[in-house]
């Protein structure tokens, strides 16, 4: 997969700092899986976090803080040293004992042949894909760790446009398959696009195939016209 469009520096920094809300963070996580460049950028920002931590003015701890921590140490760290395979075994066991991620597709979603939903998505509940305009279906991705989040899966037919909308905050779109264009350019699988709140746009999907994409919105989303009325209970 060759990625052309990446999250902005600020988004990657907020991801590294842990301050990016859960919705956009989910998209960044998916993007990072396919993008070594951004993985490196996140690691650099984490190193900046480390340097800031190291330079922080220490805050006084309660007198018994160390003693209390010491009491909880137990006898030995998890694996018994670098030579032991204990931790790794634990890790593997954990991986196998975890309930298998049931890749149950949301109702109404038709994935083009050979396309799979990215891993962090398969473990999440996704609502039914509701038709919202000709050729366009959307389903809400549940992000229970952040009740404020608005993350949607879109399935858009060839040549169709996402209904024109504006948003109060930044909109992040991650392309799972297919491609679309808006005045800022053309985007394909693996790309992440960030659109500022002041942008009003109506991205159009390529003629040669369905586009499945994931969108996260910071702030409320407003669709124009009749669709806005139809969707109100849904948003």
């Amino acid at each position: 997969m060759s990625v052309h469009s990446h999250p902005g520096d600020e988004t990657l920094l907020r991801f590294a700092a842990g301050t990016l809300p859960a919705g956009p963070a989910l998209l960044v996580e998916i993007h990072l899986q396919g993008c070594p460049l951004c993985r490196t950028a996140v690691r650099r920002f984490e190193a900046v976090g480390g340097a800031l931590l190291d330079a922080a003015e220490p805050a006084a701890l309660a007198g018994d803080a160390f003693a209390r921590t010491l009491a909880q140490l137990g006898s030995a760290p998890m694996s018994g040293g670098l030579t032991g395979g204990g931790a790794r075994r634990d890790h593997l066991e954990a991986a196998f004992s975890r309930p298998p991620a049931a890749p149950r597709l949301p109702e109404g979603l038709l994935l083009p042949e050979g396309v799979r939903l990215p891993q962090p998505l398969t473990s999440r509940r996704i609502g039914s894909m509701i038709p919202v305009s000709p050729g366009v279906r959307m389903g809400r991705v549940h992000v229970p760790e952040d009740g404020q989040s608005n993350v949607f899966l879109f399935q858009i037919g060839p040549g169709r446009a996402i209904p024109q909308h504006t948003h109060a905050g930044t909109e992040y779109t991650h392309v799972i398959c297919g491609g679309f264009s808006d005045p800022s350019g053309h985007y394909g699988a693996g790309d992440i696009v960030e659109a500022d709140g002041d942008v009003e746009h109506s991205p159009r999907v390529d003629d040669d195939g369905t586009c499945i994409c994931l969108a996260a919105f910071e702030g409320r989303l407003r669709f124009r016209g009749l669709l806005g009325v139809v969707l109100r209970p849904f948003l």
Binding site: G18, A47, A51, L52, A59, A65, T69, P77, L82
Partner: protein, 177 residues
């Protein structure tokens, strides 16, 4: 500092742990308080962070990150978890992709220290305003308004200054793998 974590992994060295605790626990607490946590909660989480350092020392890979960076990511993950718990919601295992570190040599510990020095040098090359911007971007959930307020500039200006500061930081860290 990296050598101390490695000593814990190798020999469950409690003295090494004491030194790490003395240095990092008060700084983790300060760091968490700056990002909006109450003093009590920050202290709890600082202790939990150091406990995790003890338990997961064998996952630390000095070829990949400095000890301060690794401890930063532990504190960050714990605080994300805490915020999610506070919203009465499930947690996500952010460590699921961690792999145990390979054999550690003196050389990789040196690399780790060098990496740390390089990041510090890069940060020191930022202007004072840019350093403030980077710091606030790290700590604040809504950094733009905070930056605008602290620097006494309009919100729109704050956005473009953030962009400039971060692109300068990116350039300065270019050769850091």
């Amino acid at each position: 500092m990296s050598a101390l974590v490695v000593a814990i992994a190798r020999t469950a060295d409690r003295e090494a742990f004491a030194l790490l605790f003395r240095h990092f626990a008060p700084r983790v607490k300060a760091f968490l308080m700056r990002s909006g946590l109450a003093a009590n909660a920050a202290e709890e989480l600082a202790q939990e962070t150091l406990l995790t350092v003890w338990r997961k020392a064998s996952y630390f890979d000095p070829a990949r990150a400095a000890a301060s960076t690794w401890i930063f990511t532990i504190a960050r993950n714990l605080s994300i978890d805490l915020k999610r718990r506070e919203r009465h919601m499930g947690t996500v295992d952010l460590d699921a992709v961690d792999e145990e570190a390979d054999e550690t040599s003196g050389e990789t510990i040196l690399m780790s220290a060098e990496r740390e020095a390089r990041v510090r040098a890069a940060l020191s090359k930022l202007s004072e305003e840019q350093a403030t911007i980077v710091r606030l971007s790290f700590f604040q959930e809504k950094p733009h308004s905070q930056i605008a307020q602290e620097l006494g500039i309009p919100l729109g200006t704050a956005k473009s200054r953030v962009r400039l500061a971060l692109s300068r930081l990116r350039t300065l860290l270019e050769d850091l793998k």
